[in-house]
Every structure is written in C-alpha cells, then in structure tokens.
Amino acid sequence: MAITILAPAPTVPYQTRNDADDDDENGGVDLEGDSDMRPSKRARRGKDIVTPGETVTDDPQWMRGHGTYIAPSSTEIIATVAGTVQKTNKLLSVRPLRARYTPEIGDLVVGRIIEVQSKRWRVDVGAPVLAGLPLSAINLPGGILRKRTETDELQIRTFFSEGDLLVAEVQSLYQDGSASLHTRSLKYGKLRNGVFISVSGTGGGGGVVRARRQVWTIDTDHGGGKVDVILGVNGYIWISKHVEVAGGDTAITRIEENVSSTIYSSQNDEIPAETRREIARIRGVITLLVEEGLRVDEDMVMRGYEAAVMVDDENPGESTTYLGGDMGKRVLEMLSGT
C-alpha cells in the first residue's frame, strides 16, 4: 500500500502581515490622527469593528459611553472592548461582541439561588456580581400584603433554598452594578417541571436579546401539550410543561387566594413522555440557534421549532429530537429559506 505524506498544515490558517487591505494596515487605526472625518467614515462603513486601543474619534463633540475611555490630557475617545460602535445622539459607546450580562431595571431574568442569608437570597443571574432577592420582594403564601414576620425569616429556606431556580424581574440596581430582584407577580417565582439552558456569554446580535415577549407558551405537536418558554435576558432559559394557573386572570383583590403554598413547592408534576420529548426538541432548537450565532427570540424559536418538527416528520422511523449534523443543517436551511 502506498503511503502518502501530507504536508504539515497549521491548525489556524496563517496570513502574512501584509495581505490585509489598506485600512487594516495600521491595525485600523488612523495614523494621521487629526482627521475629523472619522465619525462619518465609520457610519459609511456600517457594521465596523473596533478593537481595544483603537481611536474611535478625536472629535470633542462626542461624549464617551460604555466600552470607551478618554486618555488623560487628550480628547480622543478610545475603545476598550472589541465590538461595534453605537451612537445615541452625541453619546458614543462600543457594544462588545461578547460579554457577561449587565443587569438593567425591568429585565426579566432566570436565576439560581447561590446563598441564603437572614433576610435575603443571593442569586446567580450570570452577571459579574450576584444579585440580591430580599425577603420583602417575594409573594408570601397566604396574602400579598402580609407583613414579614420573624417566623418568615426563620423559615426562609421553605421559600427558596440553595440551588433553586426562579424567574424574577430586576427591580433596582446598586452602585456596584449588582441587581436587586423581585418576584411580586404571579408571572414570577420558583421554576419547576422543566429544563434549564444557559446561553450566556453571547453577543454581537446572537443569543437572547431584549424583546417584546420573553415568556410565551408553545402549543406543541406530537401530543406534547403546552410548553412554556422563558427567555431570561441574562441568557438563562427555562423550558417547562405549561401549568394552568387556577382562576386565570385574577383581579388584584383576589390574588391572595391563588398564592397558595404550592408556588414554593419543589416537587415536579407528572410530565408525560410526549411533553418531555417536545421540551427536548425546543431545547435542541435553541442550542442550534446559539451554535450558529443566531438571535434567540420568540420568532426564531417558533420558526425553528416548526422546522424541526417538519424535519422530524420527513424522516421515516422513530421520532427523534436530536438536532445535530444533517438534521440541524436541514432545519437551518428551512429557517433561511423562509
């Protein structure tokens, strides 16, 4: 048998320093320095990437925002992260391609309890610092306006204990950037009957983005029943079996009747195999979207799910929720076709 010896190839294709186009010759930095054409030039080139240390503009009319800094004794605004330039009126900021989640007031987040303290919980929401959930910011069973007593403090673990997942809203921000959460709505609270996915650390248009609807119910095929999807803005996602809230639309006066002790139950309901399969399929769709660097929102997940069901139906034999390889490619083709 003949032996062929392949030439060694680098794991990363190597390019010489001079093959870049003219603009990248200086690492994208304008060496002339004092051209005031910069902002218009940036705008013309559309989605342009700046890298740390690159001068975004030296025009003093711009204010610096996140992801930029001004060196002492100069007016140049310099990028500190790799990302795209964003302009809001006269505010210039650089949105990083990839970064940890930074909380903002009103964000819907999914989090996990890390620590239980005497009057609050510390929650991991994927941010640089843990978020706090005060005991006073949750719905207590048996009445929304009940006073927090010492008994509640003593049995704080009966509401949430370490490792529990919850969905909450960012109520306020502290000086150090950490968030204070609240779950004072029937929409929020402890999570059960489902599966958790983390797609954090994505950016530049991919991953979970702030959208009009972050929580919705999918009427699944193959007899799976209704499945809830919660897309936390922080990139934590919860997919669970839909449980009908007793009473449906409740008036604010009757809310306490529905806040029973079951909302803090950690016991899962009976989940049929069909529902589990559909939950796994939705999970597969979301991981596929993330791998391809696509947006994860209601529209994309719904389209992806429909495509995944169609691809599954095309294949003879047993139904599968696996979305890797050829299956994943087919789903993506259908997504880009429509």
Binding site: G27, G28, P52, G67, L97, P128, G205, S336
Partner: protein
C-alpha cells in the same frame, strides 16, 4: 555545551533559518471553548498555550465578609503539561518559576484592565502550556490578552509581548553582536535574552523580565528590537480579533 551559535556570523541566519528581526510563525484563535467566558489558543512557533478566562465573578465570600474591595482581583494559574517540554518533568503547584510568571501576568493585567468597573469580583485566567519552545512568558501574555478581549473585559489596550536576545555571550567582547527577535528554546539556553511587553502601539513597557546577564551597552538595542516586535505582534493579534468579530457579525444575520 548546549549548542554552537558561532555559525550566525557566517550567513547572518539563525538556527531555524530566520534573520535577526523575524518573528516565528504566530497564529491564534479566540472563542475556542464555548462554555468559558473567554478563551484563546495561541502558537508562537512551537510554543503552544491555551487560555481560559472566568469572570468577572463575585469572589467566594470568605467567612461572611465581602472580600475584594472596590476593584476586581486578577488571578492567574499556570499549568505546564508534562509532555510540553523535551524532558518529562513534573512541576508542582509551588514551582517558583511558575509562580513568578503568574505574578508577572496578574500584575500586568491588573494595570491594563479597567478593574474598577467590577468591584469585589474576580477575573481568573487559567493558562495551560501544551508545548514549550522558548518565549513562554510572551506567549502566555499574548494568549491572555486575546482571551480577555473575547470575554469582553474592558482594557486600555492590548498587552503584546515578545522576547529579544543578543548574539554575544556575556564575556565575549565582539562589537558586531546583533540583537535578535523572538528566541526559541535553543537560543534561550545559549544567549542572553529579555521578555518585553508593551501596551498596544505605544512604547509603554508594561512587562520587562530578564534573567540572564548581558553587557549594559547591548540592552538598549535588545529593548528596541523587542518593542518593535511587540508592535508586529499587536498587528497579528488585532487581525485575529477582527476576523472573529466579522464572523460573529455575519453569522448573526439570517
């Protein structure tokens, strides 16, 4: 006697065929590990390292009090794979050379990163050396820079590093000694060398390490060559980041 470098003066070519001011092949990739906050893989010649960034994350509270203070803490851990060098040597956690490199890297990045944006949190750099062939500290610094950019942590500028040496040994007094750029392992064993890191395109030196002896007159030339090399390194690293960024932006459009 490690090796004979006297042939250099004949053709002005080094052992691996480079000229005095040429870098070795430098390739890198970022976002190599999907689960990490930031990650990179970097090859400088045959020196190969992986870097993973975790954080900024809230520091584990020790005995109740909130540790840290008003800025983020940069922690570095270096692991040298047993198979990375020519001799299979097991280095423990407390190896002094490794510890010194860890401190050097941590100090350099505490200065260049905007750590005040992340109070009482920790940024952990985990570096793994897969193969070593000289310029180890430089490769570690470059890989860390890329991983930190991938993690989206704000920094003043790239920290780019490379080594520079001199063709003359300490005792010989020849006037025609040339400075050399980016030494490999064999050259490092024979010749005096220094590791220099600069902050981006500027001439600001952020790291300068020298463990060998050299005549003071040669130092200036070596440093100049090293700083020039750092600028070349920055250009290469910058292209890696830009390429990745373009790919991400293209990918998000469907």
């Amino acid at each position: 006697m490690p090796l004979d470098t006297s042939t250099y003066s004949l053709a002005l070519l080094r052992l691996d065929g480079r000229r005095w001011n040429e870098l070795r092949r430098l390739t890198a990739q970022i976002s190599t590990q999907a689960a990490a906050d930031g990650s990179s893989y970097l090859e400088m010649g045959n020196t190969k390292v992986i870097c993973t960034v975790t954080g900024p994350l809230e520091a584990k509270s020790t005995s109740g009090n909130r540790s840290g203070g008003d800025r983020a803490d940069v922690q570095v851990s270096i692991r040298i794979a047993g198979f990375s060098g020519v001799d299979r040597k097991r280095r423990g956690r407390g190896d002094k050379r490794t510890q010194e490199m860890q401190t050097t890297i941590a100090n350099a990045f505490s200065q260049s990163l905007f750590t005040h944006l992340y109070p009482h949190s920790t940024i952990t750099l985990s570096l793994h050396i897969l193969s070593q062939d000289g310029s180890l500290l430089a490769a570690l610094l470059n890989a860390s820079t890329l991983a930190l950019i991938d993690a989206g942590i704000p920094m003043r500028d790239y920290i780019c590093a490379c080594t520079a040496g001199s063709t003359s040994s300490y005792s010989s007094n020849d006037e025609k000694a040339d400075p050399l750029l980016d030494l490999n392992n064999m050259e490092e064993q024979e010749l005096p060398f220094l590791t220099v890191a600069t902050l981006g395109d500027t001439d600001d030196v952020s790291v300068l390490v020298m463990e060998t002896r050299v005549q003071i007159g040669r130092l200036e030339g070596m440093l100049a060559v090293g700083v020039d090399g750092c600028k070349q390194v920055r250009e290469i690293l910058d292209q890696v980041v830009r390429k990745r960024g373009t790919k991400i932006l293209e990918g998000s459009q469907l």
